[in-house]
Symmetry: C2
Subunit: 336 residues, 2 copies
């Protein structure tokens, strides 16, 4: 679905955010906001102080993967710069002074890397990075020292989940030093059969080697997913059609919908698009709904903070409206 | 939904079916088929020998409540006479020589009683019933001695089920000597929130007293059901709308449907009609689907015997077709 690269960077003259005083963090924040605003590669950037955002605004940024839960929870001296197209965001005073992030649609480490490395170089022209000739970039947590790079792809793997193979895949890629997480990173569950797959090591390997290795693992996982889909469509086609049909029926007609159920049902609608049961032109709508079914977005749409139970009512209403325009899945032309 | 009265009768010159030899049963069967065929009150009757029916045909008659499971399982000398409109059926050599049954739509013990008592009298003109001045009609099982009458009504009680009051109601009516059973009588479960409510005693009370008492209990249960519906619509309206919406969505879009799930989902569609969320004109279709979702009817429609899993596929297909014509539930005009 999407590729993400982030770089952890710190300024040499300041203690890491976890050890810094408020005034030091403020100085870092001011300096970074100012420098980033001048970089032409970041199109129409908006600089935000986290402590000036409401709970709901922070939640929205989190659900769009533009800030982390940690940044949202520790607003002192924290900020973020976001490009207008939301493809690039730079968190300030999260665990490190700078967390530069680039998100691109599809599986494309190369393009993401080319983009982020340009931004990184432009920032470095004005900022004095903490760097050791021996270790590379220095970071607050030793697991990021070296390249400071974490690259991940969000993969939609319903075939592996339905066929019960996901655990085996996770074990196999873990042995290659690659982590598998849920849609919102560490500690989150795999709602909707979405998985974030990322490198664990940042030291002892060049950036391009890390990305190459990650890319080849992704390719293998995608092949396994395709095999799994083919197999369940051969062996258990009625079950797959049934689950897709029910997902469509419930999203179109339900009146109470938790965000986790919405994700899981939408996941099946996405699978329906992949196998041609729902027309390709609806993919963008469905991918948008994954974001819009999150708690913050439901409240944002309602234009107020609301109780969880009432959120489920509004989420269901939103889905019913969206699905009124989405034609029923049709399986006739799919070979059994 | 419907009212049913049955009378247990036996011929004085023959042992009860459980004790009779094959030749004796055959004699009873022949005699009863002949007599019943001549009664004008039973319109266009068909007389059937159970041993000449296929498994599937027996299953169909059972699902339509025209014969009992017992009659279907013990075909020796067993038969049934069915009027063309299926409102009257007479089982021969079930537990008793004759089990006369009348089914009418709606709650109407009086009309059912007037009808069955005429048939009973006409049969008695040609058959010598086993009767004791002291005890009344003699039957194979002592629980039927006296009037030989069992009257029942099929009630649809989703409100009491959803609000968890059904157990309390069952306990209360049991104390009045009235039994509550599932849709297929003794030992069956309450699929679709349907309950058969019937008298337990047949001795020491006249037929009209039994029916009067039963009628007053039914009226009370129906009032309780209406209260329960009003209450859940007040207190938990989103949950009710959600369950109805999901039922509609799954019946319209599912690809695997067990008969028990179909019954329970259809029950909610029937509730939707009751509360005005689906137009009244669809009631007949929905009531018909309750019968047509049964295993025998699914096979009958497919015109062959089929494996249970394949039945679920065909049942779902049948429902999708039926629901394609049924408009979506609409809740807007229902007061919250």
């Amino acid at each position: 679905m999407s590729t993400r690269i982030r770089l952890a960077r710190n300024l040499a003259q300041f203690p890491f955010p976890g050890w810094a005083k408020k005034t030091q963090k403020e100085e870092v924040l001011g300096r970074c906001l100012e420098v980033a605003a001048r970089i032409p590669k970041i199109k129409d950037p908006t600089g935000l102080r986290i402590d000036e955002l409401s709970e709901l605004e922070r939640q929205i940024l989190f659900e769009r993967h533009l800030i982390s839960r940690e940044l949202s929870n520790e607003p002192e001296g924290a900020g973020v710069i976001i490009s207008k197209d939301q493809a690039c965001s730079i968190m300030i005073n999260e665990e490190d002074h700078l967390r530069i992030q680039v998100i691109k649609n599809g599986l494309n480490f190369k393009r993401s890397w080319n983009f982020i490395t340009q931004i990184d170089s432009l920032l470095e022209e004005s900022l004095d990075y903490a760097y050791s000739k021996e270790l590379g970039y220095l970071t607050a947590c030793p697991t990021n020292v070296g390249t400071g790079l974490r690259a991940s792809a969000m993969l939609h793997l319903p075939g592996l989940v339905i066929s019960g193979q996901m655990e085996k895949v996770v074990r196999a890629v873990n042995q290659l030093g690659i982590a598998v997480r849920g849609i919102f990173g560490e500690g989150s569950d795999a709602s909707g059969s979405f998985f974030q797959i990322s490198n664990q090591q940042t030291l002892g390997e060049s950036e391009t080697d890390i990305l190459k290795r990650l890319n080849s693992v992704m390719t293998t996982i995608i092949e396994r997913e395709e095999d799994a889909r083919e197999k369940i469509l051969e062996e258990d086609v009625d079950k797959v059609f049934d689950e897709i049909g029910r997902a469509y029926g419930v999203l179109k007609n339900g009146h109470l919908l938790s965000s986790s159920e919405a994700m899981n049902r939408l996941s099946l609608i996405r699978l329906a698009i992949d196998i041609g049961a729902i027309e390709e032109q609806n993919r963008m709508l469905v991918d948008r709904l994954f974001i819009e079914c999150q708690p913050g977005h439901v409240q944002f749409t309602a234009n107020k903070e609301i109780e969880p139970n009432q959120r489920d009512v509004l989420r269901a209403l939103y889905m019913r409206d969206a699905f009124a325009k989405l034609p029923e899945p049709s399986f006739e032309h799919i070979t059994r």
